[in-house]
Symmetry: none
Subunit: 413 residues, 2 copies
């Protein structure tokens, strides 16, 4: 098995200003390809230390992947240091120079001399075009080994890795590991793990529970010589786990937003939103998915009571008697947006995200959800018991989508 | 200045199963104490590699902090390897043995022989009690250097570091490092760096540019014996950089959302939102900030044209002539939400986030922003040049908030 080392370059990492998510992403990708990552290290924007660590990694392993330090400024040193260490020269790449010039022209921004530095590449390397920024990646092969230089920002690095580097690394892979996530909502991690208990000691595939942002997953991972064989190992286990977990298991690998959008699209229906404590968070989640406009056209963020009355038709008497955080208000919000929009479903959330309460005796973490169609209005109370604004907003958004999913499932033939 | 290295131990990190948040936490803590972290590395549960990396770090630096590998199972090897490398023996600690026995008794769990391993500590070390788990930390002093062993789970490691290790490290701290971020929007990283060029070679404070999610920052970091002295070093540099960068520098350390909310609150004004391509993302950003309800009450996510007409009063003729992605539509959206809501400002966004276009010849990444108050309506065109839905949505949301800020600043006395 070929051995790989990862080097993250950037003083901001050593100062603890950002979390190193690149190391995790790359480690996960390499593991899935059956390439062993034996070490990961982080160095600052310091030529001597980067040189020392790179040469040690190059000596020990067959593949070295570096991220960061490809930017336009003087403290971006990765290309220069690696070239010097490997005895290569830097040369201008005409294609990259043209791309960088076009990038600035399109944005109407002045192009600084420093940006030309980004078009310099190690002589003889394969230039990996970066569709999401000005720093291209580089793929260097020398003495039967290879080094890859990737940009530091994750939204540039990840697509560049997947489209350009991964196919080149595949030649070094010794098998595959396939992982799937059976995603559940509403059960909680411990209950999910109890139900799946008989499967948690399997060797291949392995089954492991974990919790993330108000959902719980079971990760099913299989190792095999080929993708097809690994998939064949996972399939029967996923099927059994789905049976055991029932309706709470809403998808394999697919997000809750995508799951709800697919159910709506398949039945040619639409949803409109009326959000209070989630403050646009449900709309933002749905519209993160390309093509959301097929099933979503109307949203109201009624953060104030006058907006709830004016745009959603919530009754003043309801607000006076029950308050804005009540099942009654949630129902009227859901019916209001349903009627105004002409959508097939109206989905509403009102609650107290915290840190402060709403001036009543109601507890932080108290949330009411409601979903309406032309026949019924369902309301549900959620008490997270947490004074954590971010968690409460995420949990409210996800539980609202889960409630809509439940109503959609009752329509299934 | 004393130099420190961090070593994270755990195969799960090299497989990419978890993100290394310990490295960031420790790096941030050390930076704040004025102890320079020069390297961080991650190794698996492999004795030979851990030994090699530990000895290299011990040779190079005065402080080595290791996290992970203190658990009860056979693959937890950190104590054994470090003892062997430093020529120390492992011995049972009677107090720890009692604590571990009590831990299991209290929970009514059977205590395995393997758990006794957790009460073994390097001879002569200071045992650091772990209030949140069974693995104690260790503080080893030898040859004028020190090594600390901490448990891997963050919720055990962090409190143990703060209560037991940080006070001991304070003796090695040569002062404090204070960092501030001068945040800019609209300039781009290279242009910002060029304007600030005269300051990028300073030694103390240092000034370093970086880019994040459609914004650019200058990090100003000063080292000094005390917090007050470090702040005093940063202050004049931040002031000069603000003058040089002008209005584009919107805050020191404060998010754009918070900056806009503070400006609105100070002038007792409110904003209402009309969002198309950002799909609720601006509302979600504003309402992430506790107390946003002081300045925000009304939002409409008009993802469809009929919603734009019905809730915002956009003219059918405007949509027919210019399309939904046009300056004209953005203006009418901003004026529409201003009028409906009675807020002081109406802020609107319409654009093409991608990956597909909108059926016209318009390019993905084309976005129109508009802000209205009772006197003026300003519209602005933004072309990101990227086919990256997530980036386009973030850039549109941030540029919209920046546009509102510009109008707010014109009101300043």
């Amino acid at each position: 098995m070929i051995v790989c080392e990862l080097i993250s370059v950037g003083t901001e990492l050593l100062l603890g200003e950002i979390t190193n998510t690149n190391a995790r992403f790359l480690a996960e990708q390499m593991a899935a390809m059956g390439i062993a990552v034996e070490r990961q290290c982080t160095v600052g924007d310091n030529p001597a230390r980067l040189r020392e660590d790179f040469l040690a990694a190059w000596e020990r392993s067959g593949i070295v992947i570096l991220t960061g330090g490809l930017g336009p400024t003087a403290d971006d040193i990765t290309k220069e240091v690696i070239c010097e260490a490997l005895g290569l020269t830097l040369e201008a790449d005409a294609f990259q120079m043209g791309r960088i010039e076009a990038f600035f022209r399109q944005r109407g921004l002045p192009m600084g001399e420093s940006n030309r530095k980004q078009a310099m590449v190690p002589a003889g390397c394969v230039v990996l075009p970066n569709e999401n920024g000005t720093a291209p990646g580089c793929w260097i092969q020398k003495d039967g080994k290879c080094a890859a230089l990737l940009p530091g920002p994750p939204r540039e690095m990840q697509p560049l890795f997947l489209s350009e580097l991964k196919p080149r690394l595949a030649a070094y892979a010794s098998g595959v590991i396939v992982s799937h996530h059976l995603r559940t909502i509403g059960l909680g991690e411990s209950r999910m793990a109890e139900l799946a208990q008989d499967y948690l000691d399997l060797a291949n595939p392995t089954v492991a529970p974990y919790a993330k942002d108000a959902e719980s997953y079971l990760r099913v991972s299989a190792a095999a010589p080929t993708q097809a064989e690994a998939e064949a190992l996972c399939r029967p286990i996923l099927k059994k786990l789905k049976e055991i977990l029932g309706e709470a298991a809403y998808s394999v690998d697919k997000s809750l937003e995508q799951t709800v959008i697919d159910l709506l699209r398949a039945s040619k229906q639409t949803v409109a939103l009326a959000e209070s404590c989630t403050g646009g968070g449900i709309a933002a989640r749905l519209t993160d998915v390309p093509g959301a406009s097929d099933v979503f056209g109307w949203g109201v963020v009624s953060y104030s009571n006058d907006c709830k009355q004016a745009l959603l038709g919530v009754q003043g008497a309801t607000l006076a008697r029950h308050g804005a955080v009540s099942a009654e208000c949630a129902r009227e919000m859901a019916q209001g947006i349903l009627t105004r929009s002409g959508a097939d479903f109206g989905l509403a959330v009102t609650g107290i995200a915290g840190p402060g309460s709403d001036g009543t005796a109601k507890e932080v973490g108290l949330i009411y959800l409601a979903v309406a169609d032309r026949n019924v209005v369902l309301a549900r109370k959620l008490e997270t018991g947490r004074n954590d604004r971010e968690y409460n907003r995420i949990a409210a958004a996800k539980q609202a989508l889960a409630l809509l999913r439940e109503l959609l499932l009752t329509q299934q033939p």
